[in-house]
């Protein structure tokens, strides 16, 4: 192993150990503060209490997590494909961009809590509405970054493709899209973080209970029952879904970007 590799290994180790240490310290502080100030369990459960709430009923939570993660992944995939497609279409001409781009901004501007009930009306309670809410929240950064990436390339390269007799579609596929990849990947990473938020919010308002109740609905139910410990379990797992999606996208993008890295 060369020195460079070993120092990279050390850096990776530090990037894992560091956050774990911070979490351990935070949890310890939480337990100590609760003890010292005598906060009631229904307001703030102890870390052990949260753990117990999970171990008492693990499958409800794990199934809920799987349910939420599936919705988040599907919604993210739709946002990724749709965002790249819409961004590409917008890049066709400045006129199209100027007339359509402001409308795509609506995805960003309209609060999700305001449209989620509409989604429930259109799609009914259940997964389709939740997936739609995920995609709506996640799509805008993909569109914006795709468009920016497609616009940013050196016009000299377009001239090269013109000399070589490439058509518009070929130029898009062989030149425009590859040169936009780093920018698109940035958009996807932002979108992956937003997707989990969109899923949980969608589940608050449009999820369906039953065999596999998703985390968002578990949070709502636990809240109505003043079961703060169960709310905590669901929130931690919801954060886990977000990390999972973000981590997967980050690793995938690093592999994809190997050719673009400087």
């Amino acid at each position: 192993m060369t020195r460079r590799q070993s120092s990279r290994g050390r850096a990776m180790l530090a990037s894992i150990v560091g956050p774990i240490a911070v979490v351990v310290i935070a949890v310890a502080a939480w337990a100590l503060l609760k003890q010292a100030l005598g906060i009631k369990d229904y307001l703030l459960p102890s870390p052990v209490g949260v753990l117990r709430a999970f171990t008492d009923d693990p499958w409800t939570f794990l199934n809920g997590m799987r349910e939420t993660a599936t919705s988040a992944a599907i919604g993210f995939a739709i946002a990724a494909a749709g965002g790249v497609l819409i961004g590409s279409l917008l890049s066709i001409s400045r006129t199209v961009e100027r007339s359509v781009y402001p409308i795509t901004l609506l995805f960003q501007m309209v609060p999700l809590v305001a449209i989620a009930p509409l989604l429930a009306i259109w799609f009914g309670l259940g997964r389709p509405a939740v997936v739609a809410s995920t995609a709506i929240v996640a799509i805008f950064p993909v569109i914006a970054n795709t468009l920016a990436g497609l616009r940013a390339r050196d016009p000299g390269l377009d001239e090269l493709f013109e000399v070589l007799g490439a058509g518009r579609l070929t130029t898009w596929w062989r030149l425009a899209l590859p040169s936009a990849v780093p920018s698109i990947v940035t958009g996807l990473r932002i979108a992956s973080g937003l997707a989990a938020i969109g899923t949980i919010t969608g589940e608050f308002l449009a999820a369906e209970g039953g065999e596999r109740t998703p985390l968002g609905l578990l949070i709502m139910t636990a809240m109505r029952n003043f079961a703060a410990d169960r709310v905590f379990v669901a929130v931690v797992l919801a954060a886990g879904v977000g990390f999972l999606l973000f981590g997967t996208v980050s690793i995938a993008s690093r592999l994809l970007l190997a050719r673009w890295m400087r």
Binding site: D154, G156, L157, E159, L160, F161, E162, V163, L164, G165, A166, T170, R174, L175, P178, S179, V181, R259, W260, R262
Partner: protein, 252 residues
Amino acid sequence: MLRPPPSACSIELTAVTREFDMVAAVAPVTATLAKGSFTALVGPSGCGKTTLLRLIGGLDAPSTGRVARGIGPVGFCFQEPRLLAWRTVLENVALPLELAGRDRAHCLDCARRTLELVQLSDAARRFPHQLSGGMKMRASLARALVARPALVLLDEPFGALDEVTRHELDSELRALWEQERFTAVLVTHSMPEAAYLAERVLVFSPRPARVVADLATPSIARDASAWTSDALGACVREASTAMLHAIEEARR
């Protein structure tokens, strides 16, 4: 090393002009560039010689007049290397064939042989950002040559390189042309480079470009010593004088 070259193509310029926003960049230019010839277009900066090259290459259309050239692939070597950052050198060189719809194995095979020609085989698997300026231009030259073009257009390709590397690449380009005999048109502002590389030098006036001198360069052996030969020196002096006259005339 390679199969015999496809028939080079000749170029016929008939009273070609080009205006940008009512400003003439190219005054009527009439010239015939023979099949398999190597012509240099020289002139003061901004005189319209690059515009003329773009007209010849079909990247731009003349305002009036006619540009006629034989059919066949055109190789274009720009001032900058214009390599695709996400492709290896080999894949960059293969690009023209790939875009022409050839199968991948054939593309890479031709690219590999062309890289040998420009002495860049060692760098085939590297990415553009890992190359020096000279190596990038070699890759760019290889890409211009890979489709065995009938016509190669060079727009000050080595202008940004240091003197030594530039001489080296000029010598190689000249040798490649002697071997392949494509029709070559070079735009440069360096008189010695024009005299060394080309058989014929067209000297242009300041904007709008018109031909003020049409010189044949001496037929001497083009090796390293040729750079300082008296015969080329005389040609350079003649071309420079013609250009200076044209510049003075334009000022009047």
